[in-house]
C-alpha cells in the first residue's frame, strides 16, 4: 500500500476509533465537537474548490460560445456581485467587522429580494409536482398500487369532515370501524410498523457501511486506483 493511500486510511481508522470510544467515555465527549469543527474547517476550504468548479465550468462555456452561454455570463456576474457584497460588506451599516446579513446591507438585500423569492418559487412548484406524482402513483396497476390507492383514499377522506359522515350510520358496537377511528389505527399500527422496520434496517446498514469504510473494505474515495 502506498503512503498516499495509507495515511488517509490511518486517519480514518484513528478518528473513527476515538469517536466511537467517546460515545461511551464521557471525558472524551468534547472531542466529538472538536472533530465536527475540524470537518467544518475542511468543508470551508473545500468551498473554494466548489467556487472554482462553478466559475471554471461557466467560463469554459462562455469561451466556447456554447449554447446558452448567456446564462453562464449571468451566473458568473451574480456570483461575483454576491461575493463582493458579502466580502466587502457593501452598504453594511455595521461596518466591515459587522454581521454580513445586517439589515440594510447589499448582501441582505440580495438574499431577501433575489435569492428568497427564487428559492420560494421553486419550493412552491412542489405543490404541482405532488399532484402529478400522486396521479401517477395512484393508478391501479397491480395489487400493491391498489392497496396504496385504497389506503390513501381512506386517509384523505378521514381527514375531512366527510370522513365522520360517511361511516356515522354504523351501529355503536362497530364504532371501531368508523373512519375517524380507523385513520389513527392506520397511522399508528401498519404505518409505524413499516417505518420502524425501515429505520432499523437503515441503522444496521449505516453501522455496517461505517465499519466497511473504517476497515478499508469499501474505499469509494481514497484514490488508490490512481
Amino acid at each position: 500500500m502506498s503512503l498516499v493511500a495509507a495515511v488517509p486510511r490511518g486517519i480514518v481508522l484513528v478518528v473513527a476509533i476515538v469517536l466511537i470510544v467517546a460515545m461511551f467515555v464521557p471525558p472524551l465527549e468534547p472531542l466529538r465537537e472538536e472533530f465536527s469543527l475540524f470537518f467544518n474547517i475542511i468543508a470551508a476550504f473545500a468551498f473554494v474548490l466548489g467556487g472554482a468548479s462553478l466559475i471554471g465550468r461557466h467560463a469554459r462555456k462562455i469561451r466556447r460560445r456554447a449554447s446558452g452561454y448567456g446564462y453562464s455570463v449571468v451566473c458568473i456576474g451574480a456570483f461575483g456581485i454576491t461575493l463582493a457584497a458579502g466580502l466587502l460588506k457593501l452598504g453594511n451599516p455595521t461596518g466591515i467587522g459587522g454581521d454580513v446579513t445586517a439589515r440594510g446591507s447589499v448582501f441582505a438585500w440580495i438574499v431577501r429580494y433575489v435569492f428568497g423569492p427564487a428559492d420560494s418559487g421553486l419550493f412552491a412548484l412542489l405543490a404541482f409536482f405532488i399532484a402529478s406524482a400522486a396521479f401517477r402513483a395512484f393508478r391501479v396497476r397491480n395489487r400493491e398500487s391498489t392497496i396504496m390507492l385504497v389506503t390513501a383514499f381512506l386517509l384523505l377522506l378521514g381527514r375531512t369532515f366527510l370522513g365522520g359522515l360517511v361511516t356515522s350510520w354504523l351501529p355503536d358496537r362497530l364504532e371501531a370501524f368508523e373512519l375517524p377511528n380507523v385513520i389513527p389505527w392506520i397511522m399508528s399500527v401498519p404505518l409505524k410498523a413499516g417505518s420502524r422496520a425501515i429505520l432499523i434496517g437503515v441503522a444496521v446498514g449505516a453501522i455496517a457501511t461505517s465499519l466497511r469504510i473504517i476497515l478499508g473494505i469499501d474505499r469509494p474515495y481514497r484514490g488508490e486506483g490512481k
Binding site: 466511537i20 460515545m23 461511551f24 467515555v25 464521557p26 471525558p27 465527549e29 468534547p30 470537518f39 468543508a43 473545500a46 468551498f47 473554494v48 474548490l49 466548489g50 467556487g51 468548479s53 462553478l54 471554471g56 465550468r57 469554459r60 449554447s67 446558452g68 427564487a118 428559492d119 421553486l122 419550493f123 412542489l126 409536482f129 405532488i130 402529478s132 406524482a133 400522486a134 401517477r136 402513483a137 417505518s195 425501515i198 429505520l199 432499523i200 434496517g201 437503515v202 444496521v204 446498514g205 449505516a206 453501522i207 455496517a208 457501511t209 461505517s210 465499519l211 466497511r212 469504510i213 473494505i217 469499501d218 469509494p220 474515495y221 481514497r222 484514490g223 488508490e224 486506483g225 490512481k226
Partner: protein
C-alpha cells in the same frame, strides 16, 4: 417589616419568566418570609451520573402547600452557595409541581451547597441548605452499556460474515430489481447516445448515506466508462464533489478504463437544495439524460428531481434511507432501493466477497432484532392477557435493553 416589603413588591414579579430546569440569572425581587409556605422536603443534591462532570442534580418532595388546585405555591427557587452559611445566589425557578432541577453550571470538582425554597407569589418560604454536592466526571457511561453490547455484537457478526465470505462461503443475496436495472439503464443510455445523471443527495460527506451513494457511483463510473457513456455528477457540497472526483477515477481504473475526470462531468452547483433542483433540472431539460440515478440522503428536492426526470423520459433509479422521502421517490422513479438496500447496493453491484459478507453480517443482526421484537410482542401480549406478574418485569428488562441515552 418583611410582610410589608412583600406587599410592596411589584405585581410584575408574579409574571416573571420561569426557568424549566435550567438556571436563570439572579435578580428576582423576592422576600423571604419564614413559615409563609411549607418548604419542600427530602431535598437531595447529587452529582449527575454518566457525564463529563459539571452538573449537579437536585430532587425534592413537593411542599405540602403545592397542590394542583388552590395551592399556595407558585413555584420553587433554587439557590446555590460555596458554604452552608452562604451567600446564596439564585440559580433559577421552576413551576409548581416540579421536583427536579439540574445545575449545569456547577463546574467540575467544586463543592456547593443548595437551597430549594417554595414561592408564594413574591414570598420565598424557608429553606435548609443541603450538600456539599460535587460534580465529578465518570470514565464510563453506564447508560450506554446496552449500546456498546449491541455495537460489539453487530461488529462481530459483520466481521464473521466478511471472514466467511473471504474463505469462499459467499452468501446468496436476494437480487434487487433496482440494482439489476442500473446496468440496463446504462445500456439504454449507450443506445440512445445520451448521458447518465448521478446525484449523491443533498447531505455533506459526513452523512453515511452520501458515502453509500459514492460507493454506488464508483460502480456506475466503471460501467459508464466501459460503455463509453457520458456521466454528469452535479453536487450540492464541494467536499462531496472532491471525493466524487476520486471515486470516478477509482471506478474507471477498477473497470480497466482509467481516465481523468472532466470538470464538466463532476461539478459543483450550489449549497442550496432548490439550487440543486434548478441546476440538475436544467441539465435534465438540456441534455435529456437516458438515466437518472439518485443515491444518498434526500429531502424536499427528491420529488422535484423525480418529477423533472419523468418529464424528460429518463429511466430513474433511486436509493435512500430517508423514510419520509420514500413515497415521493416511489411515485416518481422506476426503481427504488428502500432504506438498508441503499447500503447493500454497492455490494451487489461489485460482487466483492468482503462487501457481500458484510451484508450477511447485517442480516444476522437483523434476524436477532426480529427475534427480540417478536419476543417483546409476545411478552407484552401475554402480560396484558394473562396478567401474570413475572411477565411485566421480564418485559421491562427487555425494553431497557433498547433504551438510549
Amino acid at each position: 417589616m418583611a410582610l410589608a416589603l412583600a406587599l410592596l413588591a411589584p405585581p410584575a414579579a408574579a409574571s416573571m419568566p420561569i426557568a424549566h430546569s435550567t438556571p436563570s440569572p439572579p435578580g428576582a425581587n423576592v422576600v423571604t418570609v419564614p413559615a409563609a409556605v411549607a418548604p419542600p422536603t427530602e431535598v437531595r443534591a447529587s452529582d449527575r451520573p454518566n457525564d463529563n462532570g459539571g452538573a449537579v442534580i437536585l430532587d425534592w418532595q413537593l411542599s405540602a402547600d403545592d397542590r394542583p388546585q388552590h395551592g399556595l405555591v407558585t413555584g420553587y427557587e433554587i439557590l446555590r452557595a460555596p458554604a452552608p452559611a452562604g451567600p446564596y445566589r439564585l440559580l433559577g425557578r421552576v413551576e409548581p409541581g416540579t421536583s427536579h432541577f439540574v445545575d449545569i453550571f456547577a463546574g467540575r470538582g467544586k463543592p456547593f451547597y443548595y437551597q430549594v425554597a417554595a414561592l408564594a407569589g413574591t414570598t420565598r418560604g424557608p429553606a435548609r441548605p443541603v450538600g456539599p454536592a460535587v460534580a465529578t466526571a465518570q470514565w464510563f457511561n453506564h447508560r450506554r452499556l446496552n449500546m456498546l453490547a449491541f455495537a460489539v455484537l453487530l461488529a462481530a457478526a459483520i466481521l464473521f460474515g466478511i471472514r466467511s465470505a473471504r474463505r469462499g462461503a459467499l452468501p446468496r443475496l436476494r437480487e434487487l430489481p433496482g440494482v439489476g436495472a442500473v446496468e440496463a439503464a446504462i445500456a439504454l443510455a449507450r443506445e440512445r447516445n445520451r448521458p447518465v445523471l448521478f446525484i449523491t443527495g443533498s447531505e455533506d460527506l459526513n452523512d453515511i448515506q452520501t458515502l453509500a451513494g459514492l460507493s454506488v457511483l464508483k460502480e456506475v463510473a466503471g460501467r459508464t466508462a466501459a460503455e463509453d457513456v457520458p456521466l454528469r455528477v452535479p453536487h450540492m457540497h464541494s467536499l462531496v464533489m472532491t471525493a466524487a472526483g476520486d471515486t470516478l477515477e477509482e471506478g474507471r481504473a477498477a473497470a480497466g478504463k482509467p481516465a481523468p475526470v472532466d470538470p464538466d462531468e463532476n461539478f459543483y452547483l450550489c449549497d442550496e437544495q432548490f439550487g440543486l433542483v434548478a441546476g440538475a433540472g436544467g441539465i435534465m431539460y438540456r441534455e435529456r439524460p437516458a438515466a437518472c440515478f439518485y443515491f444518498g440522503s434526500f429531502y424536499a428536492e427528491a420529488l422535484a428531481l423525480g418529477e423533472i426526470g419523468q418529464t424528460v423520459g429518463a429511466v430513474q433509479i433511486a436509493g435512500t434511507g430517508q423514510a419520509s422521502q420514500l413515497p415521493f421517490l416511489l411515485a416518481t422513479c422506476d426503481h427504488v432501493l428502500i432504506g438498508e438496500e441503499l447500503f447493500a447496493a454497492s455490494a451487489l453491484l461489485s460482487r466483492d466477497p468482503a462487501q457481500l459478507g458484510c451484508v450477511r453480517g447485517q442480516d444476522l443482526v437483523k434476524l436477532l432484532a426480529i427475534g427480540l421484537i417478536g419476543l417483546g410482542c409476545l411478552l407484552a401480549t401475554l402480560a396484558q392477557v394473562t396478567g401474570w406478574g413475572p411477565l411485566i418485569p421480564a418485559w421491562d428488562t427487555l425494553r431497557s435493553l433498547f433504551r438510549t441515552g
